[in-house]
């Protein structure tokens, strides 16, 4: 069982804002005390640069930094030399578009993504395709908010079969993945619909059609809420952010298969990524250091380790199950109170979704809804959540988004309902 009252005590922000109803963990999560303390520990006890000094403070900092790398590797079942620290998921995905994409993509090759991507996993590939003359394919979603893997991409068709997580035979990627597809890049969990994509099954089917296709997964919304095993998923690259999983801002993780990392260009050139520099040429270090030029966010990387420990202590399976329950309760309560006047985006997958509910309330602009809720100290997101193609596809310009984490509970749901009732009153609806 998840004891939310006890958990809240671990997050100092609730001490300073006792009435806070934080429903925006999809944007960034709150931070527990051990993470904050670890940041302070680095700055007050061993704030030296890493790799460079032979003195003991630098060695301690280096040791702590590398400890996080090992911890992250175990966390997702990868190897430590396959863990690259970036600034965030966005940088990890851009790194791939540059260092991998620009090396392998040629004219008429295909890059496949989906309509439910965050801009950070959409725009880098769209631009790459434009630059190289490659074909940019976008998989649509069906009425229920799942990927439409049964029809030709682009065309909107209602899918007849119900996709199941267990059966990859139902997934049809014909016409989507071809021999020309070099990259398939998709999100694990949609940051708007909360849809959990069947990555393992998709990878199996895609690689059956074209064993050479490289699969990239944006796990920004998955890593904080779900146990990830990169080997089991069978993917080639996976990126996520520290700040969405209780860790500090400024750190992201990119995992990639070692052989592929070796073949890739460096992303940035400079300090700590070189082996030897001569007047006429430069030799680079092996991965992951080849991709970590310059002084990284040392304190933040070190503190990320505490975030992982905290998540593991509670257990990701428990977190996932708890959020699923909470989001269903929220859905049920919102529907009870407001019926047709609240429109949930991608309503069909409510039983299978992660803790995210994007909605439109009456015909009000999401900014107005979020503003009135903010007067009650209820924080939720309004806008297009960096997913404009998805909103265009759904025919709305923006939405409100409430997202839940394991420090949220039934009370937060009720406060959201009460807050929306007040919005109704204010606008005389």
């Amino acid at each position: 069982m998840i004891n939310v009252l006890k958990i809240k005590k671990d997050f100092p922000i609730f001490e300073n804002n006792p009435s806070l109803v934080y429903l925006d963990s999809t944007a960034t999560s709150l931070k527990p005390r051990p993470v904050i303390e670890k940041l302070v520990e680095y700055y007050s006890k061993y704030s030296a640069n890493i790799f460079r000094g032979v003195y003991s403070l630098s060695e301690k900092a280096t040791k702590e930094y590398e400890k996080t790398r090992e911890k992250i590797a175990k966390f997702i079942n990868g190897k430590k030399e396959e863990i690259i620290f970036t600034r965030n998921t966005t940088e990890g995905l851009n790194l791939l578009a540059y260092s991998l994409g620009r090396k392998i993509i040629e004219k008429n090759d295909e890059i496949v993504t989906t309509i439910m991507e965050h801009h950070s996993n959409f725009v880098p590939w769209q631009i790459l395709a434009q630059e190289s003359g490659a074909v940019f394919k976008v998989i649509n979603i069906n009425q229920s908010g799942d990927l439409d893997l049964y029809c030709k991409n682009i065309k909107i068709k209602k899918s007849k079969c119900k996709m199941t997580m267990q059966n990859s035979k139902l997934i049809n990627l014909n016409n989507i993945i071809t021999k020309k597809t070099k990259i398939l890049t998709l999100t694990y969990i949609s940051n708007v619909l909360g849809t959990v994509n069947p990555i393992k099954e998709i990878v199996m089917v895609a690689k059956k059609i074209n064993p050479k296709v490289i699969v990239i997964v944006d796990a920004a919304q998955a890593a904080p809420h779900k146990k990830i095993d990169v080997l089991d998923l069978g993917v080639d690259f996976l990126a996520f952010s520290s700040h969405k999983m209780l860790g500090p801002t400024g750190v992201g993780v990119l995992w990639g298969k070692y052989d592929l990392l070796c073949e890739m260009f460096p992303f940035n050139f400079g300090g700590e990524m070189i082996a030897e520099v001569f007047l006429d040429k430069t030799f680079f270090k092996d991965p992951p250091y080849k991709f970590e030029a310059g002084t990284p966010a040392i304190a933040e990387v070190i503190a990320l380790s505490e975030a992982v420990s905290y998540l593991e202590k509670i257990g990701l399976e428990k977190i996932e199950a708890y959020e699923k329950e909470l989001v269903q309760l929220a859905y049920q309560r919102l529907k009870e109170e407001f019926g047709k006047n609240i429109k949930i985006l991608g309503e069909g997958n409510i039983k299978e979704r992660s803790g995210i509910l994007a909605f439109n309330f009456y015909n009000l602009h999401p900014h107005d809804v979020a503003q009135i809720l903010s007067e009650k100290n209820i924080c939720l997101r309004s806008g297009h959540h960096c997913a404009q193609p998805l909103h265009q596809f759904l025919g709305v310009s923006s939405s409100c988004r409430a997202s839940f984490y394991f420090y949220n509970d039934k009370d937060d749901v009720e406060k959201l309902v009460e807050g929306l009732k007040e919005v109704k009153i204010k606008f005389k609806l």
Partner: protein
């Protein structure tokens, strides 16, 4: 940022003045706020230097709609010279509420449209 939804703003939001199209405007423009998807189309008729008619359409939040409604009410009958003096502070005063850094963009969308019409 307390209670920005005053009676006046809500009234202009729910019953926007000068909402609609003009058949043969002297000029028309469309402006958008990419952050929230707000769009305002504004059209204007000048008789020499003077505004004789102005209308707007579009989708937006309460603040951007009320701002456009109140601004179009004000500018009717004014000269180009007078309208050039309208700035951010004028809009804030006109709305009579204090807006945060994010919402101020909504309020200023109609001003952007007006500037393009001059």
């Amino acid at each position: 940022m307390f209670n920005i939804y005053t009676e006046i703003i809500l009234d202009h939001y729910q019953h926007p003045r000068n909402f609609g199209e003009i058949k043969n405007p002297t000029k028309k423009v469309e402006v958008a706020n990419p952050l929230c998807g707000d769009k305002i189309k504004m059209m204007i008729v000048f008789d020499k230097e003077k505004v004789t008619e102005v209308k707007f359409t579009g989708v937006g939040c309460a603040i951007s709609t009320a701002s456009a409604s109140m601004l179009t009410e004000y500018i009717k009958g004014k000269t180009k010279e007078q309208l050039k003096k309208i700035d951010k502070n004028f809009i804030i005063k006109m709305l009579g509420v204090s807006l945060g850094v994010n919402r101020i963009k909504c309020a200023l969308l109609s001003l952007e449209a007006l500037k393009k019409l001059l």
